[in-house]
């Protein structure tokens, strides 16, 4: 499969071989460098990252050891035209996601119109009954979305999944750019690269725009983290610092008379907008998991009273559900009146008996995912799976088909990547970050490119040994 992949630099796999125009300068530059050059630059990059302190804890390893996410020093390039297309598609998709969430937590017209099966919503544990009919400030639910996009040809992009809970990775997008600018000033001189460093400003503007309508003064924003043992804690502290807002843990917040306050050295300060990086389940032990020590008791009462904005809103997890994902083309059409600009990967819903028998018969060709899984956990890549893994998934699928979807094994595009053997093609995806405010939808050009460093591997998740690249949207 990997042999047939579209290479974003040399165009192979697309029928027209030869270096593609956006990569001409980069390709020539790569050829000019002496072999030891990349090794030197890579160790410099690693040094930069260690100094900055970027680490990432991987769940499921014996020790909760922190390690660097591998960073690849060769940038991934997108043309302005490619990006404009993606940008239009992303804005449309996220607008539809917001409208969908507003509807299922409100009048539920899309269920009545048969756009999505009622069961898929009502039986979903991420459909939070607690926020049904509760007015949400400015009707925005997904303030920060990470939409994972894969490419299979020069003009063929697919949305692989929507991350509308607490998508992470944006700190890598920002740090990768900073490190690249230090390592390769000469390359930036040869390319007009659209900036990404305004992301924190865009995020802050977004968060401030969604403060409750009743807040008359400058809204106070805080970032709520589960704490330093969370795998994304580095990102939380990084972002709070860049935004210039307080980084708080649950114990720093309290609720009185349905208002949220943070303890500060100057006494309690009212908080209006909370960029929370903890899941719904842990948010409020009085309403969700009673054993949660990461949450703020009473925060749901303040939320119900409209006194605080939670970003993202409670209950957005339903749109991360991979079974709900399969209805996105219909959801986009229903809420925007337009066809989806960004296509979905064709997906079999294993809850449907015919789809299930097809999936079971073709398991070794397909990718199977849990509807509520994320981070590449609980996933089967058929062509790379052992007999034992295939048998195990056959059993799981038969036992609990509604828990799974299946997709063809897409031949993700490749980009030149520096590996032990030199510069070689590796499969990539792209996670742009889409910010929805009361005023507008903001997207910084590009996003986080994730790369599967193992030859032939299609799993780009950092928890599964993936790395990242800087993503350049070329302005000229």
């Amino acid at each position: 499969m990997a042999g047939a992949a579209f290479d974003e630099m040399n165009g192979s796999g697309s029928g027209t071989d030869g270096v593609r125009p956006p990569y001409e300068a980069l390709s020539a530059w790569l050829k000019q460098q002496p072999p030891e050059f990349f090794n030197t630059r890579r160790s410099q990059a690693e040094l930069f990252f260690r100094r900055i302190g970027i680490t990432f804890a991987v769940y499921g390893e014996n020790e909760t050891s922190e390690r660097l996410i591998p960073f690849d020093i060769i940038p991934r390039l997108l043309t302005k035209a490619e990006w404009s297309f993606l940008e239009r598609g992303l804005k449309q998709r996220v607008a539809a996601l917001n409208a969908f969430l507003k509807d299922i937590y409100g009048p539920q017209e899309c269920i009545r119109a048969g756009i999505i099966p009622a069961d898929l919503v009502y039986r979903n544990p991420h459909y939070r009954l607690e926020v049904k009919d509760i007015p949400i400030p400015h009707d925005i639910y997904v303030h920060v979305a990470g939409i994972d996009i894969v490419r299979v040809g020069p003009n063929e992009f697919y949305v692989l999944e929507d991350n509308a809970r607490t998508p992470s990775g944006v700190s890598y997008m920002l740090e990768n750019r900073e490190v690249m600018m230090r390592l390769f000033p000469e390359l930036f001189a040869r390319h007009h690269v659209a900036p990404v460093e305004n992301y924190p400003d865009a995020l802050l503007a977004t968060l401030r725009s969604v403060a409750p309508e009743s807040v008359a003064r400058d809204p106070v924003v805080a970032l709520l983290t589960p704490g330093r043992y969370n795998s994304a804690f580095y990102e939380h502290s990084f972002l709070a610092d860049k935004l210039g807002v307080e980084l708080v843990e649950a114990s720093d917040l309290f609720v009185k008379d349905e208002r949220v306050y943070m303890r500060t050295t100057q006494g309690p300060t009212r908080v209006d907008v909370i960029y929370r990086r903890i899941d719904d389940d842990f948010l409020d032990p009085l309403v969700f998991r009673p054993d949660s020590i990461l949450g703020v008791p009473g925060i749901m009462g303040a939320y119900r009273a409209g006194n605080v904005t939670l970003a993202n809103a409670v209950g957005t997890g339903i749109s991360d559900d991979k079974a709900v994902y399969t209805y996105m083309p219909e959801i986009v059409r229903f809420f925007t009146g337009e066809d989806a600009i960004l296509k979905n990967v064709p997906t079999w819903r294993c809850r449907e008996p015919e789809a299930l028998s097809h999936v079971l018969a073709h398991l070794s060709e397909l990718v199977v995912k849990e509807v509520n899984g994320s981070g590449g956990y609980g996933m089967l890549v058929g062509p790379h799976a052992s007999k034992r893994e295939l048998d195990e998934f056959t059993r799981k699928l038969k036992h609990n088909p509604e828990n799974f979807i299946a997709q063809p094994t897409l031949s993700l595009s490749t980009c030149p990547t520096f590996v032990a053997s030199g510069v070689a093609p590796r499969h990539v995806d792209l996670r742009p970050f889409v910010l929805s405010g009361a005023d507008e939808i903001r997207i910084v050009p590009g996003g986080l490119t994730r790369v599967a460093l193992k030859e032939g591997s299609l799993v780009v998740n950092s928890s599964q040994g993936g790395g990242t690249k800087d993503t350049w949207v070329l302005d000229g």
């Binding site: 009502y122 039986r123 607690e130």
Partner: protein, 277 residues
């Protein structure tokens, strides 16, 4: 039947607790089987008591004492006129569509043992769901011994089932797990039960389940007593499981150890002189 309920939950902490916050689901609503004649909810300390309705239509209160507290009581008292509706639940506030009650929750998830048990005792569920549910209820009643020792509020259906013991909450969770496995929406009810043997003082409130039977509607099943609900049952709150219907969920800062003292009296009202002022 006219039932008088007096239910006091007293919290005693080692030292004053700050930021006490509670959600109380202690206020019953009218339905065809019960009419609330009068009802009072009274915390023993000054505080903010704010009523709201939750997603399931339960009447709830947020309660927050004004000051740190070391010893306080949440008391409810009232009279309810009940009628036997042969287990049929009608005239209730229904806010949530039926498929929600097919969701598994951590407390009501079934394992292979419960699924096998449910399939065996409820094998005719598609032809005769009512009969199947009754069979499952009496099988649970026979199989699970009533025992207050080994389980607590966090015990799951699977844990209680493998222990073979538990209290009304555990039996109800097991029943719900079975019903949902059979494809029948089921929910948890917290409330009160008037005992026929004349014993009015009780250790704790009661819990049972309701299942949505095609063509009949919601039916009450009380696996602890192995009966459908009768005029002895006073229904207070519903949820997917205990957590959604819990009479009191709370949090606090400080206070050290906690001692809980529950006084519950469920009696026929005519025996007493009404003391409402």
């Amino acid at each position: 039947m006219r039932i008088r309920i007096s239910h006091q939950t007293r919290y005693i902490y080692e030292s004053p607790a700050r930021s006490v916050l509670q959600i109380l689901r202690l206020t019953p609503r009218d339905s065809e089987s019960q009419h609330i004649l009068w009802w009072r909810l009274e915390p023993s300390v000054e505080g903010r008591l704010k009523p709201f309705e939750d997603a399931f239509g339960n009447l709830c209160h947020d309660f927050a004492p004004d000051h740190p507290v070391e010893d306080f009581t949440i008391a409810v008292i009232g009279d309810v006129e009940t009628h036997d509706t042969a287990g049929m639940v009608r005239g209730t506030v229904e806010r949530v569509p039926d498929p929600v009650f097919l969701r598994e929750t951590p407390l009501t998830a079934a394992d292979d043992a419960i699924r096998t048990f449910a399939s065996e005792h409820g094998r005719h569920a598609d032809r005769d769901p009512l009969g199947a549910l009754h069979a499952v209820m009496s099988a649970i009643h026979r199989t699970i011994a009533f025992d207050t020792d080994p389980t607590d509020a966090a015990t799951t259906a699977t844990q209680a089932f493998s222990l073979g013991r538990g209290v009304c909450q555990d039996l109800t969770h097991i029943f719900i797990a079975c019903a949902r496995h059979l494809g029948i929406p089921a929910r948890y009810v917290s409330g009160y039960f008037h005992r026929a043997d004349g014993v009015a003082d009780q250790e704790a409130g009661h819990a049972w389940a309701e299942a949505k039977v095609p063509h009949l509607g919601w039916i009450g099943f009380d696996p602890a007593n192995s009966i459908s609900t009768t005029e002895a049952h006073v229904r207070v709150a519903i949820g997917l499981d205990y957590l959604g219907a819990a009479p009191i969920r709370g949090s606090r800062r400080g206070g050290g150890g906690e001692k809980l003292d529950v006084r519950l009296r469920v009696d026929t009202a005519r025996r007493q002189v009404q003391t409402q002022s």
